[in-house]
Amino acid sequence: MSTQTSDQTDTDARRGIAPTAPRRGAAPRQGRPAAGFLAPFAVLYLLFVIGPALYGLVLSFTDASLVKPGLNGSAGFGNYAEALSSSDFWSSLWHTLWFTILTTPPLVILGFVLALLANRVARGRWFFRLAFFAPYILPSAVVALIWMWLYTPALGLLDTALTKVGMTAPSWLGDAAWAMPSLAITTVWWTLGFNFVLYLAGLQEIPRDLYEAAAMDGAGPWQQVRRITIPMLGRTTTLVAVLQVIASLKVFDQMYLMTGGGPNFATRSILQLVYDEGFTNYRVGYAAAVSMLFFLVVLAVSAVWFTLVRRQERVV
């Protein structure tokens, strides 16, 4: 840390010791051991991430089929043309973006609100931490099962509860207008815990005296939240938001398990389209092209984050 080295040089100066000049050859001399330590990871990364990605790029220009040997002939840009002109591709991309829009604001805001509330609790904070984080550790199949039973028409818990209050429940997973919001509610319940924990940690790093000083100057609780808490949590919010957006773009489990992409493909996400086309329809060449286009979308989102973080680093 910058403070420690400056202390060291101050101490050296007081003792009359000349500060040691940094050795010129220090950095390169560390090169070979460093490369040696990085080698195992680099090999695995090449084998399991870079290699397959490049293979996928090659596949996207072919007519490859799972059940036919080899690359089955070149398709040029045909797969990309088919994807870009296919209504299935654009609608599943839209479904993915719509899912991201539906889940990211609630997950960020609710996570922050709950962390704020949990932070105020003096005793028993462990209980709220456990309660809000517990769903996050469940596997997706368990979450899907629980919520499919909750959403069952006429017999499910939600339907019976709403009917008791006198309201008619919508067809949660069977109505095209309600299916995606229902999946969004499930996802918020499931993954809220992660953002909650990140925010809680961020809240506890804010120094208490800031609040005390503000209170002495006459700031009310809402003003304290608006002027102190939220700005101090800026880095955490950026992190949470970007992690959330990227995770939402990659959504697959909830759709596949709960609606099968239905009703009538109304909830099919882009990754499910890749799965359906590549593995169920055997058309891996086309599926690879779709996944490459999706990669560009995620790259764009990551570029936005990169510039955001860069700007924040520079300000600090």
């Binding site: 059940v67 296919s86 028409p153 069977g174 009703p263 009538n264 593995f279 055997y282």
Partner: protein, 439 residues
Amino acid sequence: MTRNLSRRQLLAVAGLGATAALTGCSTVAGGLTTSRDTGTLDFWNLFGGGDGVRMQQMLDGFRAEHTDIELAAVTLAWGNPYYTKLSLATLGDRPPEVAISHLTRMKNLVRASLLEELRPDDLARHGMTPDKFNQRAWEAALVDGKAYCIPIDTHPFVMFYNTDICQQAGLLDSAGKLTPFDSEAAFTDAMRKAKEVTGGSGGALAFTSETATPWRMFQSFYSQLGGQMLAEDGTKVVIDDAKATRVLAFMQSLTRDGLFPNPIDYQGSIAMFANGQTAFLFQGEWEITTFQTAKMPFSMTLFPNVFGGSNYAVQADSHTFVLPRQPSRDAARLDRSLTFIRSMLDQSKTWTEGGHVPLWLPFAESGDYAQMSPQSNYASAADGAAYDAEGWYSGSGSNFEIITGSAIGDVLSGAATPQQAIAQMRGNLEQLAGTPSPL
């Protein structure tokens, strides 16, 4: 005075530990590379409904009779998930020894070179010669004159009815059998009478989060009118607008007039019928075990011949046993698999108790089957079976059924008009028809 652990010592210990672990791993690596001739018979199926119970009984029967063969049976989710897993397992050289396949999907699996051919001499050695099977089904299952599967049943779409409610509604004749509905008016009239008795619905047809059931009812009515969906091996979409509109309008009137519940999913329709909230249920015959377990008064009959007149047709498919392509030839494994299949055929009685129409003639032609009620009520459905059209994207639980079933479901829920649904079906199917086959 303790000496701290130096880095060199730590690395030395870690190296020894890693070597020890790797020697243990060699057995794992060995298991991964050598062929899996463990003597276990892996059997994959997709029977989760009422007939799943019967299949478990048959598997137990096999285990009791053949204690030397270790049977590992796995039930997977029905539809595309099952066939995707079966295909990928076969492509990855880790297939089960025996698997179930619908007849309509078996042909696509053959074209994808994923199935072993069943040679006549191997079959004859186990007594499974062509003359022992229902001829129509056996011929339909051949691909280029070669056998790739062993059919065990035909499972048509049928009509369940609550005998008590129908008695009260005056729908049973003097012998206690349901008077058949042979016109649209007769059908809706019966539903209306039943609805008056139940106070809820007349009949139930699952269509929420469910695509196979609405497709099956549509296909039955549409085939009764003589309509076709696909032609030329699935490369052409030949939906007859007039016939399809007539059928869809009729189906829409059932939910619109409150005779059928809306919305209703698969399990909900089963529950409604079991609880007597509806008098009729339109579903596959495999749910018979569910209602027998619920101990309710019911019977089953042929799906109504509303549009067919003298050309009765009903949607049906057949279950077959297939041998996925194995990575290596092994005569002992082949014999174990065929022994297993023969054992299943010999237990056709249990399977028929699960509601299916048997194709194994030693049982189908016996007096036992003719006496089974209500299973023998709809035996003639096998002759009027309208299988799904052939195409690389077609078959039981395939994208074809998802596309058509979703559109028909929208008509039933009131979200689409018949014209919109037909346009949607045609558009989506033409996209698939125009895509070159990946097989």
